[in-house]
Symmetry: C2
């Protein structure tokens, strides 16, 4: 019998150390909105991105003349070029450019997993390309949810469940407990994930900020085939 690969889910960047293995592929997930925005940026011609965890680093890059997106608690930070709305990254002026990005949760998750074998970026907007690529790699997969300030969140967990369902569907993956649970959660929500998310704390937060259009955008599937991958300090387009 073929030995199956494992897909599991880490529900908070703070738990990454207990899930770390030297040889797995880590998918960083921050559906609302960092990883959705990053996928959008590559789809629309950004050449490289530099994810940084702190505002201090973002400020340093800004001083050096880089284009910098910076967001905390849902708001773009004054003094930078934009925040993490995907729409900010659909911009002719960004084509071929390197863009620095720092966000409340997503870039923290990338930082937490920085020393893993490979880090790629996932969102509903690139889900099919991502899952096909993951299925072709013959490696264990860890889906790392950015959550909200190290808490569990609904949108990242749903996405982790969606990816788990697809990988298990290939017949080559078995699930860890968290992946099994998130796939069950997704099975409840998948008829209308947007509606399911209506109850989530962060969707509520963003809607209260007038960002419903962003939420709708981020819940769309397959807007791009771009799979951003971390190479050193840069995210580049894998495919």
């Amino acid at each position: 019998m073929e030995k199956k690969l494992t897909v599991d889910v880490c529900l908070s960047p703070q738990l990454y150390p207990v899930y770390h293995k030297d040889d797995h592929i880590v998918v960083v997930i921050d559906v609302l909105r960092a990883t959705s925005a990053i996928c959008t940026a590559f789809e629309h011609g950004v050449e490289k991105m530099i994810p940084v965890a702190t505002i201090e680093e973002a400020t340093e890059y800004k001083k050096q003349g880089f284009i910098v997106g910076a967001e905390r608690n849902g708001f773009a930070i004054e003094g930078f070029d934009f925040g993490n709305s995907p729409y900010s990254y659909i911009n002719e002026a960004l084509k071929g450019q390197t863009v620095v990005i720092s966000t409340t949760n997503g870039t923290q998750a990338i930082e937490a997993a920085r020393h893993s074998y490979k880090i790629v970026v996932g969102a509903f907007t690139n889900i099919s390309a991502l899952c096909e690529w993951l299925a072709s790699q013959q490696r264990n997969v860890l889906l790392l949810c950015s959550g909200w300030k190290n808490r569990f969140n609904l949108e990242d967990s749903l996405f982790a469940g969606a990816v788990t369902e697809r990988l298990v569907g290939t017949g080559h993956f078995r699930t860890g407990d968290a992946a099994l649970a998130m796939a069950s959660l997704y099975s409840v929500a998948k008829k209308n994930p947007y509606r399911f998310l209506h109850n989530s704390s962060h969707a509520e937060r963003l809607a209260a900020m007038g960002l419903k259009a962003d939420i709708k955008y981020c819940m769309q599937t397959d807007l791009t085939k771009a799979i951003p991958v971390l190479e050193g300090k840069h995210l580049i387009r894998l495919s």
Copy 2:
């Protein structure tokens, strides 16, 4: 409109600090098997229990002549009186006694939350008594899953979902994201939680150790009305 109370779920003791609030009631959950065993002990006449996080502390109590249960990785530890099988706590000789207990996950979770307003112990075996009491307290509730070595596990999450369902059913609670997700998970599993758990890593581990009877025992509801509560270093029976 009445302001609702909040029920949320913390999926790993390591995340407790990000969920901590000064005034919430914490329910510590380690369905397989520590909190099930603790409820059983009180049902069968144990008067006090002393949960300790380390084997060193357990050894110290043993030297002082205490009865001590100690388990790591599913096994009872040599030199102690028993491990954390609930059946070990159904014993005439334990009536009226103080029993020290140290386990892989459950007693670590108690330790993590030690400075919260109130800590009670939950398991399927006391679920109705627990939920009725929680509903009567007019306080926010945090369901703290012990997990497995700080990882998410299926059985504790399912139980957290079951409790969430009941508290939301009173009309007085709203859910955090994790509670909402675990209630959805429970809605998938509740027709046959034992069967659902069949896929969980820890149930597999215990079954491989010949402990299926323990799993079946721990998945039974309402074997006791005992609600163990932490007072200083002791667990005592609240009701």
